[in-house]
Amino acid sequence: GESVGLHLPTLSVQEGDNSIINCAYSNSASDYFIWYKQESGKGPQFIIDIRSNMDKRQGQRVTVLLNKTVKHLSLQIAATQPGDSAVYFCAEVESYQKVTFGTGTKLQVIP
């Protein structure tokens, strides 16, 4: 909801530009990573995932990059649209009961 968006780092992007959202993770045992999108007042929605044996995975307008050396994950959104405005957060998965979620980045798309 709206209160979750407060105090988050904000990325402002012009409509049509590309967006890059970053995430640092901490658990070397995590073998699966997910990006979620959360719109105001809604639950998190799956965007794209990647397993630890991959460096890059592409979806429709989105790409996830994984750098295991520095424990870094990024989400690239191509040709950002107003409908992309939301909070984005990553999750690292070690097992079904050990999932750690990031606090998120708020993406603001300027028309």
Partner: protein, 111 residues
């Protein structure tokens, strides 16, 4: 949020009163979870279930209990609500460690 429903969507309750939140799924997924979401924190696991009558604690389980008497229903109970339990609560389902699906959330305010 297809296949997963949370109720109620909003609730205001008084300190010291019991509160039960309900999560209902139609996906027949084995795993169900309750998370809370607060500003400055990622989603934090309260309790989870890996089958009917099989539940376990998450990282922030104090003050909460759960029950799962049917595959489709997972109840979260605050035995005696406190102001620190004011939060947005999300239920999630999965059929393994991958691919969480979240509900729309319940905004709980304890006054």
């Amino acid at each position: 949020d297809a296949g997963i429903t949370q109720s109620p969507r909003h609730k205001v309750t008084e300190t010291g009163t019991p509160v039960t939140l309900r999560c209902h799924q139609t996906e027949n997924h084995r795993y169900m979870y309750w998370y809370r979401q607060d500003p400055g924190h990622g989603l934090r696991l309260i309790h989870y279930s890996y089958g009917v009558k099989d539940t376990d604690k998450g990282e922030v389980s104090d003050g909460y209990s759960v029950s799962r008497s049917k595959t489709e229903d997972f109840l979260l109970t605050l035995e005696s609500a406190t102001s620190s339990q004011t939060s947005v609560y999300f239920c999630a389902i999965s059929d393994g460690p991958y691919g969480y699906t979240f509900g729309s959330g319940t905004r709980l305010t304890v006054v």
